[in-house]
């Protein structure tokens, strides 16, 4: 079988045709609502667009050159994949809610939707990545040429071919067609490209199969089953030197391992094509879970046979005439395996085309949205644009696709075999690694500002140009090589490969270190110059807190005047009438409004229109466009922070709020109750004062009347004079008693009374009280009977106060007992133990009289102030405060007092006090 040019071209065409068919089929299925991208495995496979022709062919080359040096490029992504659950999930959530279309859009959105930032990111991406596209084209052309010489193993000589015979050019055109067809079906770049993703996933399978096929072929050969012979190092000393790094792998130098792992780990999410497949094209964030293990597994499989293939290559082509980068293809040719060679060619073609297609879509979106559109928008300010901007935008994007591919092709043609092209893989990675501080910092730190991000990117990018891009130019002979070693003007400190005297590091490690240091330093330093402004703070919240909400949404932080009709008209110009109407109708329904035209032109609607436009023209441009039809008032940072605080707190503390409101309700109820009782107390105080004044006026009236009578009437006889003076004396006594008792009661009630607490024997108290009231009792001709137990009744209390209680009860009883035939009884007893009170049962004292008794309705009232029962319709002498004071005293001593009617006649006033335990060593206690 002869691998002629036309045959290979035909196979290539058939293969690309297959890709078109798969993409077409997947798009159709998506249109019918059954997207193949709904499957998580498809998502994980599409991520493998990471493995380009550079890795497909280059891994073996790197391994042949430096042993395990190829491994960090896969190790890094594997390790970083462990962080995807947070890092990538945040990026996905934010991008979905903000309709983010590219890495440039992402960074610009994070820092206040800045067009300048988006433009800078785009420029860096284009400069960093276009040579990488060139490399893919070169790999295709190379592999084509090598395969064409089958069965001869011959390196391609780079004679410039005319364009139409240049495979790279033809392939570039085909890829442009594919990308335009499947990448610009719709204007909304935030929508998924199902066809393209399906084709990419398919290509990932093809390149893996091709790689594994070569690996198996080589390994089987080593095992003596045909194919290449295992090397015998002893036979050939030179071969031994060649194989040394492979057979005795070493991790040294460590810093290179670390740097390249980090670099690759960052690139796998920051490369425009990786952002495209991982973030923009994801259909369900749950797909991440499978990708987290399936993608590393893919990387492991595709690297499994790198070392055996490298060993086989070095053994088979020991003279160094064959480039190690081509071993994948030249080994099958050398061992006369045309089909295997063809499969490898297709694998390489898959790797290259997959990369070129996705990278081109990503870059063209960025170039059209973030470079061309802003320029056009400036132009539109002077000259109003055409009505249908949607078509124009699609054409711009298609033009950008062609432009990116043409640039890639031109670089390939121009650089040819130059070092600047061959080494571009990792250099490209370092360029996109410059996005890391802005992206990762933006996802985990709220303090970043637009200027900080700009400064960081610019600093990192300039250092990248100086330490990596220019030296690669110098090595290609485009710049004087001396500049690399000695720096400009002979300043060694500024030598691009040994900046500030840092020597001994790999060129990539060196460049990565200095560019990221400059980048991060400038980012942090400039960000710290000012607080984030309103828009930045809003976006920071959205990005940093993305994991707290399943669908993070920006708060409608907007204030100003807008017309719904103008907003719709603006959107229609980009998205077309039908899509706009549909989207606004959906939004209106979600807000419970039937007619979209009746939507309030408020912050929410403006934010909705802006997000809608973002999907088509990017966040930064959308912001400018929306601002052009609305009159926005600047929101101060304080206001924004207030709103943000409120929003986050509302969520975080709603539970607490609920609790607080319950507590508040309880407190309100308490207060209401307290207020009620205060009102009641106030009323009682008023009543009390009113009663006191009444009680004071009554004796005062007598005193005044008799004083005036005595004063005015000198002719009064002596007996009458004496009688009146007697009344004066008794009324004065009554008055002072009343004053004393009011003060006494006030003192006890306010808690200011001095209580002497001591062990008191109730027998003594009763006897003293009886003695004190002896005169009164005797005057009224009343008998007193005492019924006291022999056992001392000990209580804990104030002796004088207890005597006061007894005196009150006795004089009270004496008043009600009929004069002459009155009988009072005082009974002291230990009451029946009640309830579960531990210890001795309380002591009870009852004072009984044989008077009229107390009406049942008044039994409780007698203890209230100024409530006096009447005796036979007449008012008894006394202040009406004796019993209330007694109650206060008894209750203060932990007892209680009550009134009851005796079974026969008269009233019983009783109180109980807790018994004090008898001290066995007290001399008063009976032995």
């Amino acid at each position: 079988m002869i691998m002629t040019g036309p045959f290979i071209v035909s196979v290539s065409f058939v293969y690309l045709g297959l890709l078109f068919a798969i993409a077409y089929w997947a798009d159709r299925r998506a249109d019918q609502g059954h997207p193949v991208t709904g499957h998580p495995t498809v998502y994980a496979l599409s991520l493998a667009v990471y493995c380009t022709a550079w890795t497909f062919y280059g891994s073996v080359g790197r391994a042949a050159d430096s042993g395990l040096g190829f491994l960090p490029i896969y190790l890094g992504p594997t390790l970083i994949a462990l962080l995807w659950g947070s890092l990538l999930l945040k990026m996905v959530r934010v991008s979905k809610s903000e309709r983010i279309t590219s890495i440039a859009d992402f960074i610009a959105s994070r820092y206040g939707k800045s067009q300048a930032l988006a433009g800078l990111v785009t420029v860096i991406a284009v400069i960093g990545v276009v040579p990488y596209i060139a490399l893919q084209l070169k790999a295709i052309a190379w592999s084509f040429t090598i395969l064409q010489h089958y069965p001869e193993v011959r390196m391609p000589d780079h004679t410039a071919l005319p364009l139409w015979r240049d495979t790279a050019f033809v392939v570039a055109l085909l890829l442009a067609a594919f990308t335009i067809l499947f990448g610009t079906r719709q204007l909304d770049a935030s929508e998924r490209h199902e066809g393209m993703v399906a084709a990419i996933a398919f290509e990932s399978i093809v390149k893996l199969v091709a790689f594994l096929a070569v690996g198996l072929f080589v390994t089987l050969g080593f095992l003596g089953l045909g194919g290449p012979e295992p090397p015998n190092p002893v036979e050939n000393a030179r071969l031994a030197t060649l194989l040394k790094p492979l057979l005795e792998p070493s991790l040294a130098p460590f810093q290179d391992w670390f740097a390249i792992s980090l670099l690759a780990g960052l690139a796998v999410i920051l490369l425009p094509r990786q952002f495209q497949v991982a973030v923009v094209e994801i259909s369900d964030e749950r797909h991440l879970r499978r990708a987290i293990w399936l993608f590393p597994l893919y990387l492991l499989l595709i690297n499994l046979f790198v070392i055996p293939i490298a060993i086989a290559g070095l053994t088979t082509f020991p003279d160094g005439r064959v480039d190690a980068d081509t071993f994948m293809l030249t080994l099958p040719i050398a061992f006369a395996q045309p089909w295997l060679a063809l499969l490898v060619f297709l694998g390489g073609l898959s790797a290259a085309t997959g990369m070129v297609i996705v990278e081109t879509i990503a870059l063209s979106t960025m170039v059209s949205n973030d470079l061309i559109l802003p320029a056009l928008m400036r132009h539109w300010r002077r000259q109003p644009p055409a009505a249908d901007l949607g078509r124009l935008l699609l054409d711009i994007r298609r033009g950008a696709i062609v432009l990116v591919l043409v640039l890639g092709y031109l670089y390939y043609r121009f650089a040819g075999e130059a070092y600047a092209l061959v080494s571009i893989g990792l250099i490209s990675f370092v360029a996109v690694a410059q996005f890391a501080p802005a992206v990762i910092g933006g996802l985990y730190w709220r303090g970043g500002t637009r200027e900080g991000a700009l400064a960081g990117l610019l600093a990192g990018f300039l250092v990248w140009i100086y330490t990596l891009l220019l030296p690669s130019f110098a090595r290609s002979g485009w710049l004087p090589p001396a500049f690399m070693d000695s720096g400009p003007g002979g300043m060694d400190l500024l030598a691009p490969l040994a900046l500030f005297g840092l020597v001994g590091w790999n060129e990539i490690t060196h460049g990565l270190f200095w560019s990221l240091t400059a980048n991060l330093g400038a980012f942090l330093l400039v960000s710290s110059l000012r607080e984030p402004n309103a828009v930045e703070a809003t976006q920071a919240r959205l990005f940093v807190d993305a994991l707290r909400q399943r669908h993070p949404t920006s708060l409608p932080l907007w204030r100003g005047r807008a017309e719904i009709a103008e907003l719709m008209a603006l959107t229609e110009r980009f998205l077309g009438v039908a899509r706009t109407r549909e989207a606004f109708a959906r939004h209106a329904r979600a807000r419970g409004i039937a007619d979209p035209a009746r939507l309030p032109a408020d912050a929410e609607t403006v934010a909705f229109a802006e997000t809608l436009l973002s999907g088509a023209i990017g966040g930064a441009s959308a912001r400018v466009m929306v601002a052009s039809v609305t009159e926005e008032e600047a929101l101060g940072l304080d206001e924004v922070l207030d709103i943000l605080d409120e929003a986050s707190q509302v969520r975080a503390y709603s539970h607490e709020l609920e609790q607080k409101s319950q507590a508040l309700e309880a407190a309100t109820a308490d207060l209401r109750a307290a207020n009620l009782s205060l009102t009641e107390l106030d009323r009682m105080k008023d009543d009390f004062i009113s009663s006191v004044t009444h009680e004071l006026r009554t004796p005062l009236a007598s005193i005044r009347a008799f004083s005036e009578i005595l004063f005015d009437d000198p002719r009064l006889d002596l007996a009458q004079r004496k009688r009146f003076l007697g009344i004066l004396v008794s009324e004065t006594e009554r008055l002072s008693r009343l004053v004393n008792q009011v003060l006494d009661l006030a003192k006890i009630e306010s808690g200011h009374a001095d209580w002497r607490t001591e062990a008191v024997t109730l027998q003594e108290v009763i006897e003293q009280a009886v003695t004190a009231t002896g005169q009164l009792v005797e005057d009224r001709g009343i008998q007193v009977r005492l019924d006291l137990p022999a056992q001392p009744a000990l209580v804990w209390g104030d002796r004088d106060r207890l005597i006061q209680v007894l005196v009150n009860l006795l004089s009270n009883a004496a008043k009600f007992a009929p004069a002459g035939s009155g009988e009072l009884g005082v009974k002291l007893s230990q009451s029946m133990a009640r309830g579960t009170d531990p210890g001795d049962p309380p002591w009870r004292v009852c004072v009984s009289d044989n008077g009229p008794g107390i009406p049942p309705a008044e039994l409780e009232l007698v203890f209230e102030k100024f409530r006096q029962a009447t005796i036979d319709g007449a008012k008894p002498a006394g202040t009406g405060l004796g019993l209330p004071i007694s109650r206060q005293i008894v209750e203060n001593l932990g007892g209680h007092i009550w009134a009851e009617n005796a079974p026969q006649k008269g009233a019983n006033l009783c109180f109980e006090l807790p018994a004090h335990p008898v001290d066995p060593f007290d001399h008063k206690a009976p032995l």
């Binding site: 004044t693 006026r697 009554t698 009236a701 009347a705 008799f706 005036e708 005015d712 009447t870």
Partner: protein
């Protein structure tokens, strides 16, 4: 000229002083110790003037006043209210219910005697 005066009060000493003052003026004095007895005495003895306390057991002064004013046969009865409750509201209430005069306790004996004279003079 002698008039019939009824004193209705539950404070014995005040009753004694009022009784003394009225008798010194040459009036015929009767005493009641509570509202009910007072009202009964007004109906049976038809006094020219009642010195009526407000705070009393059984029936208070206002109730007695109302009952007297509600009885047209007692229309000529002059009523002087005495009370230890000095608030203006009480005074207004008494006057509104038809008391002829209202004096707070403690009262001036001279003013009381003058007031009684004045009220009795108007009956003629």
């Amino acid at each position: 000229m002698s008039k019939r005066i009824l004193i209705v009060d539950d404070e014995p000493n005040i009753v004694i002083s009022l009784e003394f003052l009225m008798m010194r003026e040459g009036h015929e004095v009767r005493v009641a110790r509570d509202g009910e007895a007072g009202l009964a005495a007004v109906r049976t003895h038809r006094p020219d003037l009642v010195v009526l306390d407000v705070m009393m057991p059984k029936l208070d002064g206002f109730a007695v006043l109302e009952a007297v004013r509600a009885d047209p046969t007692l229309a000529g009865t002059r009523i002087l209210m005495l009370t230890a409750k000095g608030r203006e509201a009480e005074q207004n209430k008494g006057l509104a219910l038809g008391a002829d005069a209202y004096m707070p306790k403690p009262f001036s004996t001279k003013a009381l005697v003058e007031k009684v004279k004045e009220l009795l003079a108007s009956t003629d």
